[in-house]
């Protein structure tokens, strides 16, 4: 029988059967969609942001970034918050709660004044939501009292968080923007205002491409375009960085984190958990592949836990944080020069080109035999290892200590896929 571990987790005092939630976006914007998602196995839903302001959307509204044979590694959107009436959205939340009472419902809201935040908080509480998420972070709103500008303004974040928290008994999450240099400040302001948790990240401000015939960036809306939010696999590295920043910030000790940004596989999910997130949200992965991706997330995390002997997510949440330190704290006493398996090498020479043009000219090329050989100029940067197209041909070799440094055991990565 397929292995299934207990993936349940308590987030903000609410029990989730697994940490996987839809993030606020079109993927969770009406009853049938939410019902299908929950039936597919998602642990909970962050409903599409509800506002007093009702969006009037453009067409088209998306663009994608491709890399060689891989389409859709990054995704840009120009969408705003819900384009449905508050009443319709509240009805939908009520119906979902009624038919799926054990699946937590997080209502995402956005106001443009403390009064609106209060009003929205009261309404979604009334409708039966379990948690409220304040959207401080949509980068394509048309007013600076709403959207990601709010998320960079400590005063507004504090004030809106307070207005929301005071109007409800439910725990409140503040959803942060990555469009700033430092996320800790606004996060702290949200907690000071009464929020209980931080979710991050919303989309990254971007221009994904420019149509070179129309002289207009994409998507082209009647010959014009705008800066829009970037999401999907491409932003995972940025999201992970912000999650770790939040988790490591002393003044936010004990504040629960929800991780968002580029999650598609169980492996992405585990990475967010290892850096301290205890709830996970997904949009672009679903937009691209559908709700079904949760099946492999559940199964994959279960197998991972089985391999590692973990019985609960709590056993490994934050486990990679102690090993994340300042660049000034890294061991600079050794190098791990590569070794090349000449037998398995197929002779493409890519390692030679990269090492010569971008590293330390440490690979000699036998043009006759079409084979590379590593010389003692290798500094162990591992550029070639990352460039090599054949699995396992270039791997770290013996550790060498620099002149005069004390030898000691070191931990390096040896498994590459």
């Amino acid at each position: 029988m397929a292995l299934k571990k207990d993936l349940s987790i308590n987030y903000l005092g609410v029990k989730f059967e697994n940490p996987f939630c839809l993030s606020s976006s079109p993927v969770g914007s009406d009853y049938d969609m939410c019902a299908k998602a929950l039936e597919a196995g998602w642990g909970g839903i962050v409903f599409k942001t509800i506002g007093i302001f009702i969006a009037d959307e453009v067409s088209p509204r998306f663009d994608i970034v491709n890399k060689e044979g891989h389409p859709f590694v990054g995704f840009k959107n120009l969408e705003q918050i819900s384009d449905k009436s508050v009443e319709a959205n509240l009805k939908c939340i009520e119906k979902i709660k009624k038919n799926f009472p054990h699946k937590p419902m997080i209502a995402s809201v956005m106001g443009s004044s403390p009064e609106e935040w209060k009003q929205l908080a009261e309404m979604v509480t009334q409708a039966g939501a379990d948690i409220i998420e304040c959207n401080f972070s949509c980068p394509q709103m048309t007013s600076h009292t709403m959207g990601s500008d709010v998320g960079t303004n400590l005063e507004l974040v504090r004030e809106y968080s307070r207005a929301t928290s005071q109007a409800t008994k439910l725990p409140v999450i503040a959803k942060m923007t990555p469009n700033l240099t430092n996320i800790e400040g606004p996060a702290l302001a949200a907690i000071e205002g009464g929020a209980k948790s931080i979710s991050a990240i919303n989309t990254v401000k971007s221009i994904t491409s420019v149509d070179t015939d129309l002289f207009c960036s994409v998507p082209v809306v009647d010959g014009k375009s705008a800066i829009g939010g970037y999401s999907g696999a491409a932003i995972k590295p940025i999201a992970l960085r912000f999650i770790a920043n939040l988790a490591q910030y002393d003044k936010l000790k004990g504040v629960e984190i929800s991780g968002i940004g580029g999650i598609e596989t169980w492996r992405d999910a585990v990475e967010f958990l290892l850096l301290g997130a205890r709830n996970l949200q997904v949009t672009t992965g679903i937009m691209q592949y559908g709700y079904r991706i949760v099946e492999d997330m559940i199964s994959g995390v279960s197998h991972y836990m089985d391999e590692k002997g973990f019985n609960s997510l709590e056993d490994f949440i934050g486990k990679a944080l102690t090993n994340l330190t300042g660049a000034d704290n890294l061991n600079r006493d050794y190098k791990a020069p590569v070794k090349i398996n000449a037998e398995a090498c197929i002779g493409c020479g890519r390692c030679y080109i990269s090492c010569y043009d971008a590293a330390h000219q440490a690979i000699d090329w036998d043009g006759e035999k079409r084979r590379p050989a590593v010389s003692d100029r290798c500094v162990g940067c591992h550029l070639c290892l990352n460039v090599c197209p054949v699995q396992g041909v270039i791997l770290p070799g013996e550790i060498e200590f620099k002149e005069g440094r004390t030898k000691r055991p070191v931990t390096i990565k040896t498994k590459y896929e």
């Binding site: 397929a2 292995l3 169980w266 492999d296 199964s299 396992g392 896929e417």
Partner: protein, 424 residues
Amino acid sequence: MSTVNKAPYLEEAVQPFTPRTAMEEAARCLLCHEPPCSDSCPAGTNPGKFIRSIRFRNVKGAAETIREANVLGGVCARVCPTDKLCEEACSRTGIDRPIEIGRLQRFVTDQEKIFGMEILKKGPAKNKKIACVGSGPVSLACAAALAAAGYQVVIYEQKPEPGGVLTYGIIPSRLPKEVVEQEIGRIKKLGVEFKLGAKIGRDLSLEALKSQFDAVFLGLGLWGGKLPALEGIDLKGVYSAVDYLSQAKDSGGRELAAERAVIIGGGDVAMDCASTAKQLGAKTTIVYRRTLEDAPANAAEVKFVQSLGVGFIFQFTPSKILGKDGKVCGFEAKGTDGESELRLKADQVIFAIGQAPEEILLSEKLELTDKKLIKINDENHSTSLKGVFAAGDAVNGGKTVVQAVAEGKTAAFAIMSYLTGEAK
């Protein structure tokens, strides 16, 4: 000059994927809605789902999907005519070429072994015993499904080794012996007992079996080699395909070396005979009565045989086998055009013109069809004898391994409902 493939007899010919190349191939998959590949697997192996699991980095989950649907998932990965099943249905064909589903399935089942996964579990013990006669794919699938549901199963096999055609037919370069042993090992772990060298109808009667067991399943296959009534058919060096292949597999090929072999037939079995003969060192020619287009053999197999340098002669039917001192020394055939004539030097002539049921009467009351196949009720695999069920080649006249797996599973469920009294 053209290159000839020198693939050795005992080595698997198709290269495996590495985790990276498997991911590259899985990334070609379009992840279709209601995947047509999954719809076209008789055994429900669900490639749409397991490839999606590879794509989303969950190889162990992929292994569970395969193994739970198909106990012979590793065998099928290698021998299924995928070009006529899942890969034929693949939507990617509309862009360029289908996903290599069989090879991905092999990758996953290989990884399953590397990880030491034990996916199938024995169910809570039930106090009922079933005998399965034969240990080919159909019996293996039936026995595994029954054992997984907690029933006690004993397999009776006339040959010294289990596996049926997997062990005594399909050539090692397509299906290495270790793979068959591993799959059977998993079934043994489920608690299925194997009694080898026990021929029902000779060593033990069907009646005796019936009295010792709560139900009996017949998965006898087709082990009567067909030989045409030709002059010279009794000469030494003339074989039926099943005899030839099982002798070759038995001896690792050592006892069958010949100088010139002629294979008659155009199906997969003929191709297996041809590659065997060629790999064992004979100058090999296939003679087939129809055209290449009409030949029922799998395209991949024909290509493999051609790559070995085997010659093909089409539209000739055998007329006479020539002999000297009781041994084959030549072969003659007539063109289907009524004029052409063919005469080849040969010291081996192998007929791969279909298999027939073995002439063995298990019971006078066991109803057969006019083709001597076992007659069943299509709905529940029951035979004319109460408590006796049948499926596989001996019923369907000879299809595929994956078809046998599918039938074995449905037969197992039919037996379960019989035993729980849900059916008559």
